[in-house]
């Protein structure tokens, strides 16, 4: 996929994806980056991810605390707040509606151009 396009799309949904991952369990930045990569969204650099986490924390959708790692350094763990859980519910519905409308435009168009 075109990398510019991927970046543009990702900017619109990265915070939503991060909230979705945190809905499963609390996590820290690097682990979230790995999970996003495994989910097929590609490598998200720290310079992109942490500002998103800070914004989510500022707007009170996630809460953070520091915890010592078993072997390594202390890590900042993030978890959803009640308003974060509410946001996940709302955003999931919103996304399904929005993506569905884009699908409804795209796929008939694709059939048109492939049948010609």
């Amino acid at each position: 996929m075109d990398q510019d396009r991927r970046g543009q799309w990702l900017r619109g949904v990265l915070d939503v994806c991060v909230l979705a991952l945190l809905a499963r369990r609390e996590s820290y930045g690097y682990e979230l980056a790995q999970a996003l990569d495994r989910a097929g969204l590609g490598q998200i650099q720290g310079g992109t991810l942490y500002p998103v986490l800070l914004r989510l924390q500022r707007t009170d959708l996630v809460a953070a605390h520091w915890r010592d790692g078993e072997a390594g350094p202390a890590r900042k763990y993030y978890r959803l707040t009640p308003s974060g859980e509410e946001a996940v519910r709302r955003l999931s519905t919103d996304w399904r509606g929005f993506a569905g409308r884009v699908d409804d435009l795209l796929f008939p168009a694709m059939e048109e151009v492939t049948s010609q």
């Binding site: 820290y28 930045g29 690097y30 980056a33 650099q45 720290g46 310079g47 942490y50 500002p51 998103v52 800070l54 914004r55 500022r58 520091w66 790692g69 390594g72 350094p73 202390a74 890590r75 900042k76």
Partner: protein, 275 residues
Amino acid sequence: MSDERWLHALGQELARHRLAPEVTHHVVAEAAAHLRDSGQPALRAFGTPQGYAAAVAESLASQHRPHRRPPGRVRLRASQITKRYGRRTVLKPTDLTVHAGEVAAIVGANGCGKSTFLRICAGLLSPDSGEVVVDGVLGYCPQDGGTYDFLLPEEHFVLVGAGRGLDRARSRRLGRAGAATLQWEAGDGVQARHLSGGTRQKLNLVMAALGEPDVLLLDEPYQGFDRGTYLDFWQHVWRWRDEGRAIVVVTHLLNQLDQVDQVLDLTPATREVAA
């Protein structure tokens, strides 16, 4: 750039964005943990320290906006100042009032009288008409000059300190501390004539601010500063404002203007609508 240097630079950049020390500490610690976990070089994972610090500051924008105290009493009032050199009118009647805790910027094209107006405010030059009233101790930083070729930086501090009622030891200590905040080690015995232009301007700035004057008049004091020191300079300006000083800065650089409290534009065609 090694990761350690990158993290150090990040800390400095975050401080320049006026983030609280504990916030800076957490952001740096989180970036350090990420680098250890991922094994990536810092530049690749986060980009430049400047860029990442700006992104962090923006994410925290509503949090780090400093709460402003209401401005205090009038510290400087210049009323209807005019100045001519021969037939040439340098200043048409100009007013400026600055309260404690305010920053005023003086802008305008070359030769429109910015430095002349500041020198009149400082009492170094007489206006042809009008009046300047200053309430409190005044510090003035000229655009150039202002240093003594054969004196050491410390001797400058003692000289200015004496005028502000500080003893020699205290003047030296305050001067050295002020220099250190501008990334300059002022303790070594180099006469002013051997200092670089940028360092001489640091000396001027440290002298102007020595002993915490109530009014600071700064005439483009950052000429010859590198980028980092330039940003440090503006952080000083905002801190002085928070401490309740009245500050007037002559500047031609416009990117700080949205943060100042008033702008006096001395460009002839626009001055009626400005400020």
